[in-house]
């Protein structure tokens, strides 16, 4: 089963995963754009703990070191990759209820990392948008509709040329829309994460 959810408050995310397990859905993996994958099983209490860490493409040795340290300390790394950001843990022994953080400062740092990642992603979206505009001399309409003299055409000729170009226009428009929407989301998430590390801890 898949569920679409976006959490910025990581405590809420931990609660959501625990409640799903209590209903008999065990968290398996998280894929991009907010999809949580679950597998049915008997209802159980699972105290998920979530850290936020990005290791990057070349961060494999550090990622392995990180996971090894948590495993040594009694945690099972349930899901997470070096570029997934969120890292999901469960206690290796079910009866233990512990936390992966022992002070509020390190909990706060987790939101700061999330915030910084949102800012980086937002910056990428903005740079992409400006680059697309700059390449097309800040004239988006001539980039989307490239048929020469399209807007000067009249009647049937115009509509034929318009609809002929329409699918190509969509292909050019969709990436721009995705990046713009993504940028807006990251801006909102960054603000939410900032509020959390400023007020919650």
């Amino acid at each position: 089963m898949r569920k679409f959810k976006v959490f910025i408050d990581i405590d809420e995310e931990e609660k959501f995963l625990r409640e799903m397990a209590e209903k008999g859905y065990i968290f398996k993996k998280y894929s991009y754009f907010g999809f949580y994958h679950f597998e049915p099983a008997k209802p159980q209490t699972l105290n998920y703990r979530v850290d936020y860490r990005m290791f990057g493409i070349g961060g494999n040795p550090e990622f392995l070191n990180y996971v090894a340290m948590f495993e040594d300390a009694g945690w099972k790394h349930v899901y997470g990759t070096k570029i997934s950001g969120s890292q999901y843990f469960l206690p290796q022994h079910d009866e233990e209820v512990n936390d992966i953080f022992s002070d509020s400062e390190s909990k706060r740092q987790r939101y700061i990392r999330l915030y910084q990642q949102c800012i980086v992603s937002l910056a990428c979206a903005i740079i992409y948008f400006i680059a697309v505009l700059a390449i097309n001399n800040f004239n988006l309409s001539s980039y989307l509709f490239q048929t020469p003299g399209l807007w000067e055409m009249g009647g049937t000729k115009f509509w034929r040329a318009f609809w002929f170009e329409f699918p190509f226009m969509l292909l050019r428009l969709i990436p721009i829309l995705i990046f713009t929407t993504g940028g807006l989301c990251y801006a909102i998430w960054a603000i939410k994460a900032k509020k959390l590390f400023e007020n919650k801890y």
Binding site: D51, L64, N65, M69, G74, W75, I100, F101, S102
Partner: protein
């Protein structure tokens, strides 16, 4: 480097630096800190990982080559040792002042 800016050390940082006067990987540091503090300072994995990351950025500890393929092994740097020395002197002075006042 102006080492004074690192002082005073938090209890956790003090114990981590002290633990790393001998090389050790993350979990070994967690245990050593607990042992050195007589069980008083127990650091969770995520907190310890962040603390190590921080100390590396501050160049007070460093990763050293080891045979373990997965676990990084850390060791205190010369700057780290100087910090411990400065902190110890600061603490000694505090204790001395306290003793002179009948504590």
């Amino acid at each position: 480097m102006n080492l004074e800016k690192f002082l005073p050390l938090t209890e956790t940082t003090f114990y981590i630096l002290m633990a790393l006067t001998e090389p050790g990987h993350g979990y070994a540091i967690m245990n050593k800190v607990e042992e050195l503090s007589g069980g008083k300072v127990r650091t969770a994995a995520g907190t310890m990982y962040g603390a190590i990351e921080n100390l590396i950025k501050q160049k007070l500890i460093k990763a050293v080559p080891s045979e373990d393929k997965r676990r990084k092994v850390y060791l205190i740097t010369d700057e780290g040792k100087q910090i411990l020395q400065l902190e110890t002197e600061r603490l000694k002075h505090l204790v001395l002042v306290a003793q002179n006042h009948g504590f």
